[in-house]
């Protein structure tokens, strides 16, 4: 019989928690004896996102890491993967409630605030930072979303995947455009100029569950609105409304976006660009290189920074931040319940070393968070410059437990506007109604934040 799945799931987690609460805290701690940590015979459990682009390379990496770690400390590493964000959330929730699970988690950067608010992960002391090789070894910008402030950080930067924009060099040259615009208004104009027949200026995934908020947040913070300002939500701010208007305007005013994109997810936007049907692919990361290099546009495209001048402006307004991207990538966190914390830190130290970070970039195309490795990479690769620039100019999304809800509310505005968007115009009054609802949701969530 099918019994209320959600109810059962919630209750299941609860039961698990009850059953397991008594079991923790029994085994002994790893002893740390000065330099190298001795972990002979121990196994660390690490949860990471499944790499759908390079599944085989990831398996190889798992066994290589484990072998290297065994050589250094005597301990082995067991990797667990999660396939989707939902999968990730469920695993973390179960572990949080039961006080049992992986020792180390690789979390998406924007999920770090939520993880922090559960209080289930180790807040790094100076001593802890030293155990992972010191705060100084990381690219400063990547530390921006490790915690609410410098003294309360849980996230150790592991990989950087900043957002950039891909553009089709041939289409731009044909239209007589020598380089991509650096203002959002300029980009919209270029996109309009580049649209003809079934080729469009921009490939935008309006129906994606994550893309829309990145645009809106980016344009807002450039105009000086961080969306969450201390204890106040500012979704109903005029600059945010303006951001939505220009985001929708690409379709309704400039007609520079394929009308079908109202039902596109990110992968479909990438596919349209890959097929040469769009001049710009905004909001993509270096990981799209794999797809694009095997596509019709291979060799005919380049990456550029996303515009940093907000809609309606010709220069950065006072109070605005020239954010090129959210701080995007992975943070590593250590579970408080882990019995082998010194060993955990030893593994993280190994993984964030310059050599291993360079190696990780070579295998997966994700940028190093290790400063030494990043500098080395920059000197050797000119075409990576925009991506490395974007990494350095990334700005962290607000570090608040309410960010998850706020992000959802920002996307929800787009989801509920899709019918009007599809019919050709999103009226200001409709948009304002949506923004008011989103503002209320976000503020309510902020009021609950502790």
């Amino acid at each position: 019989m099918r019994v209320r799945p959600t109810l059962a799931a919630i209750a299941g987690i609860a039961v698990l928690g009850l059953a397991l609460q008594g079991c923790t805290g029994s085994s002994s701690n790893t002893s740390s004896t000065g330099g190298a940590v001795n972990g002979a015979g121990k196994t660390l459990d690490v949860l990471v996102a499944a790499n759908t682009l390079y599944p085989d390379a990831q398996k190889q990496w798992f066994s290589d890491v484990s072998a290297q770690f065994q050589k250094e400390t005597g301990a082995t590493v067991k990797f667990e993967t999660f396939a989707t964000t939902n999968d990730e959330l469920t695993k973390i929730q179960t572990a949080v409630v039961s006080g049992q699970g992986p020792d180390i988690y690789n979390l998406g950067t924007t999920f770090t605030p939520t993880a922090y608010s559960t209080g289930a992960f180790v807040t790094m002391t100076d001593d802890d930072w030293n155990k992972v090789g010191g705060r100084d070894r990381f690219v400063p910008a990547t530390l921006g979303i490790s915690g609410p402030d410098d003294n309360d950080q849980i996230g150790i930067p592991f990989a950087s995947r900043p957002f950039v924009m891909a553009y089709n060099k041939d289409l731009l040259a044909a239209a007589g455009i020598d380089k991509p615009a650096t203002t959002w208004d300029g980009l919209a104009q270029q996109a309009q100029k580049l649209t003809s027949g079934d080729t469009y200026g921009l490939a935008v995934a309006y129906a994606d569950s994550f893309d829309p908020w990145k645009f809106i947040w980016g344009m807002s913070i450039q105009a000086g609105n961080p969306i969450i300002d201390g204890k106040t939500a500012r979704i109903d701010d005029p600059v945010t409304e303006k951001a939505y208007q220009s985001y929708f305007g690409w379709l309704t005013t400039q007609h520079a976006v394929d009308p079908a994109s109202v039902s596109w997810k990110n992968a479909q936007a990438v596919a349209a660009f890959a097929a040469g049907k769009a001049a710009f692919l905004p909001m993509t990361s270096a990981t799209s290189k794999v797809t694009l290099d095997k596509s019709a546009v291979a060799g005919h495209y380049a990456y550029a920074l996303l515009p940093t001048i907000p809609p309606g402006q010709t220069s950065l307004p006072s109070g605005g931040k020239a954010a090129t991207s959210i701080i995007s990538g992975d943070n590593t966190v250590v579970a408080k319940y882990s019995q082998n914390q010194d060993l955990d830190f030893a593994l993280i130290k190994m993984l964030t070393s310059a050599d291993n970070q360079t190696d990780y970039y070579k295998r997966f195309g994700e940028l190093p968070t290790n400063q030494e490795a990043a500098t080395a990479l920059e000197t050797g690769n000119a075409d990576l410059a925009p991506i490395l620039d974007s990494s350095a100019q990334s700005v962290g999304t607000p570090f608040s437990g309410a960010w998850g809800d706020t992000q959802l509310a920002l996307v929800n505005v787009v989801v509920q506007s899709i019918p009007s968007l599809s019919s050709g115009s999103v009226s200001d009054s409709d948009l304002e109604t949506q923004l008011k609802a989103a503002q209320a949701t976000s503020q309510a969530s902020l009021d609950k934040a502790k």
Partner: protein
């Protein structure tokens, strides 16, 4: 046999009933149903969220506030309306289709086994697959749009806006009608061949035979199928989740998706437990009506009385 002795025998058999044999079942029921349900009820009274999850037994007790919030400040009532109305429509649409299909495959004909198997395909496909395939077909500029477009019909958005409600009904109906078909087919097997003969001897036409001879046999299976189908549709999560994603367009934010989002995206476990309890009550209403109707709840004694 005197009344006296009959009475004594019953007391004797009551006394010696091996009730302990119910033990394992009781333990299982407690583990699987009673304890989780009790916990969910308790959770619905707590202010349980991401901040309190770690030591959830110490989460602040806030009484009925979650219920108040669910009713006054969340889309719960709207979601209930969407879930219930869509479940009713799907059940009513699929009922005649299932009955017709069962009747059509009742008599022997060449290839009947094949047709019967083909009929079951929509039902055995995982909801995830059904959702993904239909979503791909129904997206803007997709197969369905271009097919209808070439016939001169322009329908607009399927996966968002008011029409998405009907999209959900169409797809859910497509994947669930074989359920009626299965139960009605089973019901048809219980019609004695003598009944068919007698009806034929009396010269009954096909409609008279169907209406007055066959349908009375099917009343039970159809009522059961209706109730299960209603419950199934009200609880349906995978199909709307896969087809419309989250955040869901407001016209298809069904109860199960709302509860899921509240729990696993907003981390309001207490609030979503309250929503889940509310949905449990809604599901319990048709179930109760059905159990009363077939008197399954009162057992043999009740039936005799």
């Amino acid at each position: 046999m005197s009344l006296q002795s009959a009475k004594r025998r019953r007391t004797l058999s009551t006394r010696n009933r091996p009730l302990w044999m119910l033990g394992p079942g009781l333990v299982l029921m407690a583990l699987v149903i009673i304890i989780p349900l009790g916990l969910a009820l308790y959770m619905s009274l707590l202010d349980l969220d991401q901040y309190t999850l770690r030591s959830w037994l110490q989460a602040p007790f806030i009484g009925l506030q979650n219920y108040v919030e669910a009713v006054t400040a969340s889309p719960l009532l709207r979601s209930i309306w969407i879930s219930v109305s869509y479940a009713v429509v799907v059940s009513l649409v699929t009922l005649p289709v299932g009955v017709a299909a069962a009747l059509a495959t009742q008599n022997r004909f060449k290839g009947r086994a094949l047709v019967r198997s083909v009929f079951l395909i929509p039902y055995i496909l995982p909801a995830f697959v059904v959702g993904t395939v239909w979503r791909t077909m129904m997206q803007q500029g997709g197969v369905i749009d271009s097919a209808l477009g070439s016939a001169g019909v322009h329908t607009g958005l399927w996966l968002n806006g008011p029409q998405s409600y009907w999209t959900l009904i169409i797809v859910q109906a497509w994947s669930s009608w074989p359920f009626f078909y299965l139960l009605v087919l089973a019901g048809l097997q219980s019609v004695d061949s003598e009944v068919h003969e007698a009806a034929a001897l009396d010269g009954a036409g096909w409609w008279i035979k169907l209406r007055y001879v066959i349908f009375p046999y099917l009343r039970g299976p159809i009522a059961l199928a209706l109730i299960i189908s209603l419950l199934h549709n009200i609880n349906s999560f995978t199909l709307p989740f896969v087809m419309f994603g989250v955040p869901a367009p407001q016209d298809v934010q069904v109860l199960s998706v709302l509860t899921y989002v509240t729990s696993f995206q907003s981390f309001r476990f207490g609030l979503s437990a309250a929503m889940a309890v509310a949905s449990l009550i809604i599901v319990a209403i048709p179930l109760f009506v059905y159990l009363r109707a077939v008197r399954l709840d009162t057992g043999e004694e009740g039936k005799r009385a």
